[in-house]
C-alpha cells in the first residue's frame, strides 16, 4: 500500500447548531493514490466541500467538529497532528484551490507578494514571475505588481493555482475550481490542471457537481449523497455501469450537448435536510427501487467487483442482485 497518498477512514464531521446536529459528513471513507485524479461528485449540500475542509482541518469550529475517523496522509494521521505540524502540511504537502478566488485572495496585497508569502525560502521575484508564467499568465511581471481586482475571473483562478502549486504539493484539492467561470475559460483552467498533474505527478482530488468535468478529468470517482458515499469506482464503471439508483438517476438526468432527449429523466424530490436525514438508506424517499428494508436499516458499502463499491440494499454481500419485491 505504498502508493496510497491519502486515506480517509470513517470520517464524521458534524455541526452542532441551535436547531440540532447537522451530520454534514457521516462516515466517509476515501482514498487517493499517488499521481491519481479522484473525483468527488454530488449535488449541493451533500457534504463534498466539508469533506475537503476536513482533510485540511479547516472546519470552522465551533460549530463544526470532526467527531470520528482517521485521515492518513502518507504515514501521518492528520487528525492526531498538532496544529503546528498541520501548518507545515497545509499549502506545502496538500494545497487547495477554491471556487471563488476573490474571497481567497487578499484584495489589498499585490499578486506577487501573495505568492512570495507562501513560498519557502527568501522571496525571489524571479521565482514568482516564473510561477505566474507556468500557470499561463501573460505578462507575468506586470501581473505580479497588480491587485486581484485588476484581473479577470480566469486570471484570478490561475493566480490561486499558482499559489497552490508554489511548494510543489503532493496533493491538490480543487473545490469546484471552474464553477464560476465561463465555458471557454473553464476549458483553459481544466487544461492547466491536467498539464500540472502530468508534469509534476501531483495527485488531484476534484470536487464538483458537474459530471462532464469528472468524465474528462478523473481516474476514479466517489459519488456522495447526503453525507455518505453512495458508490465509488473507476470512471468507466461509474459512467457505464452505475449500480446505485442515485448514480443512475444523476447520470440519466444530466444534460449533454451530445444527445437530444424529448423528456428528461429526473430524480423526484430534493436532497434531504441533514438536520433530520431519512431513516435507513438516506436515498430511500427518492429511490424508484426502494424496498421495505431500505427504510429500516442503513446499507453498508460493499465491493461488487474489484475497485467498484456500492452502498445499497439491492446488492447483497455476495454480489447477487436482489429482486425488487
Amino acid at each position: 500500500m505504498n502508493n496510497v497518498l491519502l486515506e480517509i477512514k470513517g470520517l464524521k464531521t458534524y455541526f452542532h447548531t441551535g436547531l440540532g446536529t447537522v451530520r454534514a459528513v457521516d462516515g466517509v471513507s476515501l482514498r487517493v493514490l499517488k499521481g491519481e485524479a479522484v473525483g468527488l461528485v454530488g449535488e449541493s449540500g451533500c457534504g463534498k466541500t466539508m469533506t475537503a475542509h476536513s482533510i485540511m482541518k479547516l472546519v470552522p469550529t465551533p460549530p463544526g467538529v470532526i467527531e470520528e475517523g482517521e485521515l492518513w496522509f502518507r504515514d501521518m494521521d492528520l487528525l492526531k497532528l498538532p496544529d503546528y505540524d498541520m501548518r507545515k502540511i497545509r499549502g506545502r504537502e496538500i494545497s487547495m484551490v477554491f471556487q471563488d478566488p476573490m474571497t481567497y485572495l487578499n484584495p489589498v496585497m499585490k499578486i506577487g507578494k501573495q505568492i512570495a508569502e507562501v513560498m519557502s525560502g527568501p522571496p525571489q521575484e524571479r521565482l514568482v514571475v516564473g510561477l505566474l508564467e507556468s500557470v499561463g499568465i501573460p505578462e507575468p511581471s506586470k501581473v505580479a505588481n497588480q491587485y486581484p481586482h485588476e484581473l479577470s475571473g480566469g486570471m484570478r483562478q490561475r493566480v490561486l493555482i499558482a499559489i497552490a502549486m508554489a511548494n510543489d504539493p503532493a496533493l491538490l484539492i480543487a473545490d469546484e475550481p471552474t464553477t464560476a467561470l465561463d465555458v471557454t475559460i473553464q476549458a483553459q483552467i481544466l487544461d492547466l490542471i491536467k498539464t500540472i498533474k502530468t508534469e509534476k505527478g501531483t495527485s488531484l482530488l476534484l470536487i464538483t457537481h458537474d459530471l462532464g468535468i469528472v468524465a474528462d478529468m478523473c481516474d476514479r470517482v466517489y459519488v456522495m449523497y447526503a453525507g455518505k458515499i453512495a458508490e465509488s469506482g473507476d470512471v468507466y464503471s461509474i459512467f457505464e455501469e452505475p449500480l446505485h439508483p442515485y448514480t443512475q438517476g444523476l447520470l440519466r438526468s444530466s444534460l449533454s450537448i451530445a444527445e437530444f432527449r424529448e423528456t428528461l429523466e429526473t430524480i423526484e424530490g430534493t436532497v434531504p435536510n441533514l438536520l433530520d436525514p431519512p431513516s435507513g438508506c438516506r436515498f430511500h424517499p427518492r429511490c424508484p427501487m426502494a424496498m421495505s428494508i431500505c427504510k429500516e436499516k442503513e446499507p453498508t458499502l460493499t465491493q461488487q467487483k474489484p475497485g467498484h463499491e456500492v452502498c445499497c440494499w439491492l446488492f447483497e454481500d455476495d454480489g447477487q442482485k436482489r429482486s425488487n419485491p
Binding site: 487544461d191 468524465a215 438526468s253 430524480i267
Partner: protein, 327 residues
C-alpha cells in the same frame, strides 16, 4: 418553420451604456452591451440566446421587456411596434410577455406568502378578489406544487430552490402570456432538479402554446430545450439557426470553441474528442476589437478579420453566420 406565425421580431437592436468619466462626467466612451442584433421568434417556438458573461444576452432580455430603453433599433411584438407603445396599450401588450429570473430568492418578495405573490399579477389585471384563491391554486397545481393548500400560506424561504423556481414560472404564467423570457432560469439548480424544471417548462409550452426566449450560457440546456439558437459574442450575434444543425455542424469558430469546451458526461467521448482551446479572455465591450470582434481569440484569424467586420449572412436552411471563412 416559416409557416408558423412570427410573434417577435427584433431588428438592429442596440444598447450603449455611456460611461461617466472625466471631470464633468462628460462621456465620450460607452459600453456597447448590445450592438445591433436582429432575430425573430415564431409562436410555440423556443429560441436560445447563448454566450458567455458580458456578451449582452441579459441586456437583450431587459430590452425585450422594456425594463431598459434601447439606444436604437425596433422590436415588433404581436404585430405592434413595442417600443412606441405607452400607457394602457403598453400594459396590455406587456401581459403577453413575461420573465423568469435566475435568482429566485431575489425575485420573490421574502415578506409575502405564495398566495400574495401569485395573486399580484391577477390584481394588476383587475381580477376580482373573490376568485383569487381559486386562480392561485390552479397555478400552483399547474407547476406541480400540489396540493395547493399546503403551499398557499408559505413564504419563499420555506421552499427549496427548485420549488421557488416553480413559483417564478407560475407567476410568469398567471396571465397566460404568449412569450416567456427565461434569463438563466435553471442555471442555479442542481442536476436532478434542473431536469425537473426543464420538463415542466416543456409541458407548459405544449399546454399553452408558449414561445420561450431562453437566455443561458449552458449549451446542454439549449440542446434539450430549444429549436433555434443564436450565439452572441461581445454584443453581436455571430451565428444563428436550428439547434440540431448548429450543434452537429457549427460554422463559426466561436461556436465551435463553445461546443468543444462544454464537458460531456461520457468518459470515452470526453477523452477522444479534440479540444479547441481559445486563447485569453473576452475583450472589454468598451473598446471592442476592430474588424471581427472575435479575431483576438480566433485560431483561424486572417488579415482581413482585423480590418473588416463580417456581416451575419444567410447560408440557407435558416442558418446564418458572421465569419469570413464562410463567405
Amino acid at each position: 418553420m416559416d409557416k408558423k406565425e412570427v410573434i417577435l421580431e427584433v431588428s438592429n437592436l442596440k444598447k450603449h451604456f455611456p460611461l461617466r468619466e472625466g471631470f464633468f462626467s462628460r462621456s465620450s466612451r460607452s459600453v456597447r452591451a448590445v450592438d445591433g442584433i436582429s432575430f425573430s421568434l415564431a409562436q410555440k417556438e423556443t429560441m436560445a440566446l447563448v454566450g458567455e458573461s458580458g456578451c449582452g444576452k441579459s441586456t437583450t432580455a431587459k430590452l425585450l421587456l422594456r425594463l431598459i430603453e434601447p439606444t436604437s433599433g425596433t422590436i415588433r411584438f404581436l404585430g405592434q411596434d413595442f417600443l412606441s407603445l405607452k400607457g394602457n396599450d403598453l400594459l396590455s401588450l406587456r401581459k403577453e410577455l413575461q420573465i423568469i429570473f435566475q435568482d429566485t430568492l431575489a425575485s420573490l418578495n421574502p415578506r409575502k406568502t405564495l398566495r400574495e405573490i401569485l395573486s399580484q399579477p391577477f390584481r394588476n389585471d383587475g381580477v376580482p378578489t373573490v376568485s383569487l384563491t381559486g386562480k392561485v391554486s390552479e397555478l400552483l397545481d399547474l407547476v406541480g406544487l400540489s396540493p395547493p393548500a399546503v403551499y398557499l400560506n408559505r413564504y419563499p424561504h420555506e421552499l427549496s430552490g427548485g420549488q421557488r423556481q416553480r413559483i417564478g414560472i407560475a407567476r410568469a404564467l398567471a396571465l397566460r402570456p404568449k412569450l416567456i423570457v427565461a434569463d438563466e432560469a435553471v442555471s442555479a439548480l442542481d442536476v436532478s432538479v434542473k431536469a425537473q424544471i426543464l420538463n415542466l417548462m416543456k409541458r407548459l409550452q405544449r399546454q399553452f402554446d408558449l414561445s420561450y426566449l431562453f437566455i443561458t450560457h449552458d449549451l446542454a440546456v439549449v440542446r434539450s430545450l430549444a429549436d433555434q439558437v443564436a450565439v452572441m459574442y461581445l454584443g453581436l450575434i455571430v451565428e444563428s439557426g436550428p439547434v440540431r444543425q448548429i450543434f452537429s455542424n457549427p460554422l463559426h469558430p466561436y461556436t465551435q470553441a463553445l461546443l468543444s469546451a462544454t464537458p460531456v458526461p461520457n468518459p470515452r467521448l470526453a477523452r477522444q474528442r479534440k479540444r479547441m482551446l481559445l486563447k485569453g479572455d473576452v475583450p472589454s465591450p468598451i473598446d471592442p476589437p476592430k474588424g471581427c470582434r472575435f479575431h483576438t481569440r480566433c485560431p483561424f484569424v486572417m488579415s482581413r478579420c482585423r480590418e473588416e467586420e463580417p456581416e451575419l449572412k444567410e447560408k440557407g436552411d435558416g442558418l446564418a453566420v458572421a465569419c469570413f471563412l464562410h463567405e
